[in-house]
């Protein structure tokens, strides 16, 4: 599959990167949350436009620049945190936000590790987490954006990566 990014001299398709993103997410959920993951065909309904919930962002820099994110409802965030920390969370608090930042960090870090042999060394930032209502994201026109929608026993969420070649 040839994509915009492949045409710019980066030898990888969005389909391959989407597979890497799902593989990295699956590893986090299996190893750290003890939960199987399934890929969903469509984004969770509440995330097709703006949504209420949690958005965790991790920056990427190096031969490519951009970021990776994980978006979910408050309920799914509490479920993920409960599984990660083996403590029940009913509401989004600092611990839940920290846990969601760490989950995004591991997902984007794992994706980065899978991508590096093809595109060269990349670095990731520390995570930022946003919690609120009517969260809307917009992708830059340059580069590519790819996402994977996932389901686990505690809910659904979306992971997304936006990448563009670094300027010379």
């Amino acid at each position: 599959m040839t994509t915009d990014i492949a045409l710019k001299g980066i030898p990888i398709s969005t389909e391959e990167m989407a597979n890497m993103l799902f593989a990295a997410t699956q590893e986090v959920f299996t190893s750290m949350l003890g939960s199987e993951l399934r890929q969903l065909p469509e984004p969770p309904a509440e995330q097709s436009g703006s949504f209420d919930g949690v958005l965790s962002l991790v920056g990427l820099a190096g031969s490519l620049i951009g970021n990776g994110s994980l978006a979910c409802t408050a309920e799914a965030a509490c479920e993920m945190s409960s599984r990660l920390l083996m403590t029940e969370f009913k509401n989004v608090d600092d611990e839940v936000l920290d846990a969601l930042g760490e989950i995004a960090n591991m997902v984007v870090g794992g994706f980065k590790n899978l991508l590096e042999p093809t595109v060269g060394r990349l670095q990731i930032s520390i995570p930022s987490v946003i919690y609120g209502k009517n969260i809307a994201t917009r992708d830059a026109k340059a580069g590519v954006a790819l996402g994977v929608c996932c389901g686990f026993a505690g809910g659904e969420f979306a992971v997304k990566v936006r990448l563009a070649p670094a300027r010379e």
Partner: protein
Amino acid sequence: MRTEPPNLLIVDDSTAIRKILLRVLSQTGLQLGRVLEAGDGQEALKQMEGNDISLILSDINMPNMDGLELLRALRGSPDWRDVPVVMITTEGGQARVEEAVQLGATSYVRKPFNADLLRDKLASLLTK
């Protein structure tokens, strides 16, 4: 020969990971002394002062002072150059692993990790 239970230091900017590592350590079945926590390398160096730390578990990507800078500082210190340091990080690239090993990391564990394997590794390091 050491007779007192070992003191440990966990260095990670994520409280979630610190909590998980505390749980893994409690599952080793070993008698441990104090387990101190730090959110970055600078805090870790402060915690090292006056505490007899036997093992450090450290992340790499942290604000203020990252795990590799911490490692460099520890290995440059006459008091702390021999303290074992296990890097626990999402950074799985070969270059980063080699950099950490060259700086004197005792062991390298990539996140996400299998808690059982990490528990066994830590138990092995603590009983050496």
